[in-house]
């Protein structure tokens, strides 16, 4: 009888331990994004070029065979702010205001300007580096990778 009670208590504590861990010890992934990040590279597989065209089409950009034409957010600085605001600063210092949020278990980044919404699978978040994979509507990963460095 006592053994059974001990087993039930342990099982209950085991089930509650992730909640304890989450609320007391761990930092939400949103905090990892806060700050200013600069685009360092935009890698993609040649075979998956159509995905970039799809993204470019989605943004009403002219997609040609030239990869430069279908690359988006090129050389931009991304400023992730606390209240869900994302400021994209281009080379010519023009600033575009967007919204950002994390989805799922914090593994998907959503950015939107109100009309176009993009989703990125977060493959790496380190102190000085973020790697994102563009998620197409078909949810094919590892096709277009966007790499940031902390400024």
């Amino acid at each position: 009888m006592i053994l059974r009670k001990v087993i039930y208590t342990l099982a209950f504590l085991l089930l509650l331990s992730p909640a304890y861990l989450l609320f007391t010890k761990l930092k939400t992934p949103e905090k990892n994004f806060l700050g200013i990040w600069k685009e360092a590279a935009w890698e993609y597989k040649e075979a998956d070029r159509f995905l970039l065209h799809q993204l470019a089409d989605k943004q009403n950009r002219i997609a040609t065979a030239n990869e430069e034409d279908v690359r988006i957010h090129t050389g931009e600085t991304w400023n992730f702010k606390k209240n869900g605001v994302l400021l994209l600063t281009k080379h010519d210092d023009t600033i575009k205001t967007m919204r950002w949020s994390l989805k799922g278990r914090g593994n998907v980044l959503e950015i939107t300007d109100g009309s176009v919404t993009e989703h990125y699978d977060i493959s790496t978040v380190e102190n000085d580096k973020i790697e994102l994979n563009y998620l197409s509507d078909m949810h094919v990963k590892e096709s277009a990778k966007l790499i940031f460095e902390k400024t």
């Binding site: 509650l16 992730p18 909640a19 861990l21 989450l22 939400t28 949020s101 989805k103 278990r105 959503e110």
Partner: protein
């Protein structure tokens, strides 16, 4: 469809319960994927995700997924707990309560998402937790009252069962066995309903968003009200019959088998 328990259930009871709840599960699962990029009616994949997050050192994600799985677990636990502890007092209420709780959870997701959602990760995680809890409640209830014949929130086991049944149909010894045909009918109706729910949800999502959960709640309300209506109708009929018999039968013969039989019928329907 709710009030009968275990072996007293007919194929028709199970098909009604299976199709309606599978439709709900299909809708909820697709809605959660489109809204939050995470599934909410099945947990098999989450076990794999949980361990992969642990290996990658993403403790936050590991804890979140562990809580989601626990939430589904608690939902199923609570469902069966209510059924086995309150079944004898009031079978209908014991069986309807998990559906009422499920509806409350999903309605909350719909209302909160429509009017208060600020797109934060914490909100996403809590809303997913509620959806997984609701799906756990549903799966626990359907499995519990149907003697594990009806499970509607995920189709892994059902796919295996259906494949086995179809392979049995290739053998003439099993082809005409009624219980195998009945099982196949039940599984096919669950599949069709789940897919229909998923289809409706994905089509309605673009303009309904979180309001998809209002439709889901209406289906659950129908499940609850359908049996309540049936119970009341049958009880009313029994009362009318009893009254008629009392008027026809002399006073001395009133006691005995007939009235106790009617009482027994009413108890079964409760």
């Amino acid at each position: 469809m709710l009030r009968k328990y275990s072996n007293s259930r007919t194929l028709s009871d199970n098909i009604k319960l299976g199709t309606l709840t599978a439709f709900v599960a299909g809708m909820v699962n697709v809605a959660s994927f489109l809204l939050f990029f995470s599934f909410s009616s099945n947990v098999t994949g989450y076990y794999a995700v949980m361990m992969s997050e642990l290996i990658k050192g993403n403790l936050y994600q590991f804890a979140v997924v562990a809580i989601w799985i626990s939430s589904f677990f608690f939902g199923s636990f609570l469902s069966n707990f209510i059924v086995i502890h309150f079944n004898k007092r009031n079978a209908y209420l014991a069986h309807a309560m998990p559906i009422i709780l499920e509806m409350a959870c999903l309605l909350f997701v719909g209302v909160y998402g429509s009017y208060y959602y600020k797109d934060t990760l914490m909100e996403t995680e809590v809303l997913l937790l509620l959806m997984l809890f609701a799906m756990g409640l549903q799966n626990g209830l359907t499995a519990s009252i149907s003697n594990f014949a009806v499970k509607t929130t995920h189709l892994t086991g059902a796919t295996t069962d259906l494949a086995i049944l179809f392979s049995m149909f290739t053998h003439k010894e099993y082809r005409n066995k009624q219980h195998i045909i009945d099982k196949a009918k039940l599984l096919v109706s669950i599949f069709a309903s789940y897919l229909a729910g998923a289809l409706v949800s994905s089509m309605g999502y673009s303009f309904l968003k979180f309001k998809v959960f209002y439709i889901v709640s209406l289906f659950l309300l129908f499940v609850i009200v359908y049996d309540l209506y049936k119970i009341r109708s049958v009880n009313r009929l029994l009362r009318i019959r009893k009254k008629g018999e009392e008027e026809e039968t002399p006073e001395t013969e009133k006691t005995g088998t007939k009235s106790s039989k009617n009482n027994r019928n009413e108890m079964v329907l409760q």
